[in-house]
């Protein structure tokens, strides 16, 4: 059985205006169905405004879809019993793009990472501190960073703290919404490596939402392409992305930046040595 199943989800946003007789609803997701198996990663590609983040929110239980169902281990996350929903909230974690706005600026790193542990685990103070230090080390930070506040970290370091917080409860699925997009290349690769390791160690599943084709390709097992609220392509194997003839996918492939100056695509820059 799949870990997560999204069944025919349709969602639209209503803009509330003073004059109500006009229909101002804007469809953002149309009939989306997908599933994520345990221990796999689904990459979700799309340009800005395609509805990627909305789909992420729907899956996280933050945005109730107007039609369709989201099943986590067979339970509908919007209608299940309270206890099951509590369990689901533990098993379903998220890392957002903007690391600064996902943390409370008045909390120290120790407090940020410790908060979910406080809520779900019954640990003594010393145990919790040890767990937090382990988590910090796991994501490439150290004990020295325990007492620091968010503004004392760089964006990359803070994103590691967000990841540490997300993995602190050993969840089953993490929604990564543009989680590596604001990082530099070295950090990006390191975080992707870290995510890959965690995936193997804990049997984690990811929903990797991004516009970065290279990042999605390097981590995903399956790959979907979202365009204007529709899931236009869903590949069982990520390599199919490169053989697809869909015009949107073709355009996406065309805008991948060259890996080497030999392959550059800007017409006036070619043959310049």
């Amino acid at each position: 059985m799949s870990l997560l199943q999204v069944k025919a989800v349709t969602h639209s946003y209503n803009s509330h205006t003073f004059f109500k007789w006009k229909d101002h609803s804007k469809k953002v997701l149309t009939d989306i169905s997908l599933s994520i198996d345990e221990g796999t990663c689904l990459g979700l590609l799309g340009t800005s405004g395609a509805g990627k983040s909305t789909l992420g929110k729907v899956i996280l239980g933050l945005e109730r879809p107007q039609q369709g169902q989201v099943l986590f281990q067979g339970h509908d996350i919007y209608t299940a019993d309270k206890l099951i929903r509590q369990k689901i909230r533990r098993d379903l974690q998220v890392v957002f793009q903007d690391s600064y706005s996902s943390v409370n600026p008045r909390m120290t790193a120790e407090h940020i990472i410790g908060e979910p542990l406080e809520n779900y685990e019954k640990l003594t103070v010393a145990e919790q501190k040890r767990t937090v230090i382990e988590l910090l080390e796991r994501v490439g930070l150290s004990e020295k960073d325990l007492k620091k506040y968010p503004h004392q970290f760089s964006g990359g370091q803070l994103q590691r703290i967000n990841i540490a917080r997300a993995i602190s409860l050993k969840p089953l699925l993490i929604v990564l919404d543009e989680s590596v997009s604001s990082l530099d290349m070295v950090n990006q690769t390191l975080i992707l490596e870290l995510l890959n390791e965690l995936k193997k160690d804990f049997g984690l599943s990811y929903l990797f939402i991004t516009h970065d084709i290279k990042a999605a390709y390097s981590i995903s097992d399956t790959l979907g392409v979202l365009e204007k609220g529709e899931l236009i392509e869903l590949y069982d194997s990520k390599t199919q992305f490169f053989s697809s003839e869909h015009p949107v996918v073709k355009q996406m492939r065309g805008s991948i930046l060259a890996e080497h100056p030999r392959f550059r695509s800007l017409p006036t820059r070619i043959n310049k040595t």
């Binding site: 340009t47 800005s48 405004g49 760089s154 964006g155 990359g156 604001s182 990082l183 530099d184 290349m185 070295v186 950090n187 990006q188 690769t189 390191l190 992707l192 516009h211 970065d212 084709i213 290279k214 990042a215 390709y217 390097s218 390599t239 490169f242 073709k250 355009q251 996406m252 492939r253 065309g254 805008s255 991948i256 930046l257 060259a258 890996e259 080497h260 100056p261 030999r262 392959f263 550059r264 695509s265 800007l266 006036t268 820059r269 310049k272 040595t273």
Partner: protein, 275 residues
């Protein structure tokens, strides 16, 4: 109007220190590079390596009370370091344009695009409001922005990131500066807009012979655009080389590390052949 020196911008022995509670801390040191007319110089390095500090010190944007900038920064033979506010303000925007990473934060949300665009033009030229507006519309058309007249009346938050970044490029280019400093111009954009923005930057370079200092951590951007590359680490330059040389034959350990950190798409044919 402009002297035809090949070195438009020359930075030598740049050394920036910041005063903190615990004494002076060095941000960048021994920075030397030259920017030639019509060329693109890439500045690479991970976050915190001093790329932005270097570009901010060229424009004297750092807080003078807490930072000290030593060394020489010359624009067409004219020393920029130590100029007073009034003089440097004439250079900013006109001779050296600055394109920032986050287009959303680079505009004032309370004024329309047109207001800010026309103000920039009028503060550097003697054009009247109508002429400035025409120039603005013209510049926006050059970067393929649809319906510029309408865009001028809209507020920054009504535009998408990609559009705003193009407005910023139009603003930067319309006064034909001799240097454009582009600090991570595409990092906040999605893949499709990324290439568009690079195309527009390159068009401006080709048309007006503008020299571009392209700051990026994305080696994809660098390999598309740069002629020469400067690699920075911990506030120092560790390697300077031609872009082909750098990718084929990196000398410094750190450069090798950066190149290895690239995400490579493992499939049969090189991606650019599919265009």
């Amino acid at each position: 109007m402009r002297t035809e020196r090949s070195n438009v911008l020359k930075v030598s022995d740049l050394h920036v220190q910041v005063q903190t509670k615990d004494g002076a801390s060095t941000l960048v040191q021994d920075i030397n590079f030259e920017l030639e007319k019509g060329k693109v110089l890439g500045l690479v390095g991970e976050s915190g390596s001093g790329k932005t500090v270097t570009s901010m010190s060229i424009l004297q944007l750092l807080d003078r009370k807490t930072t000290t900038i030593e060394g020489s920064i010359t624009l067409q033979g004219r020393e920029l370091n130590g100029l007073d506010d009034k003089e440097i303000r004439e250079i900013r925007g006109k001779d050296i344009a600055f394109i920032m990473q986050n287009p959303m934060n680079s505009f004032t949300p309370v004024f329309t695009i047109g207001n800010q665009f026309i103000e920039t033009i009028r503060s550097h030229t003697s054009l009247n409001k109508k002429q400035a507006k025409e120039l603005a519309i013209d510049a926006m058309q050059n970067v393929n922005l649809p319906d510029p007249a309408k865009l001028l009346k809209s507020f920054p938050f009504q535009l998408s990131g990609g559009m705003l970044q193009r407005v910023m490029i139009a603003m930067a280019a319309c006064l034909h500066p001799s240097v454009i400093i582009a600090d991570e111009p595409t990092t906040a954009l999605d893949v499709h807009n990324q290439l568009q923005v690079l195309r527009h930057l390159d068009k401006i370079r080709a048309e007006y012979g503008t020299a571009i200092l392209l700051i990026s951590h994305d080696l994809g951007v660098i390999s598309e655009m740069a002629d020469d590359v400067v690699v920075m680490q911990h506030g120092r330059i560790v390697e300077t080389a031609n872009v082909f040389e750098l990718f084929d034959n990196p000398q410094h350990e750190y450069t090798k590390k950066l190149l290895n950190a690239r995400l490579i798409l493992n499939h049969e044919e090189p991606i650019t052949y599919m265009l």
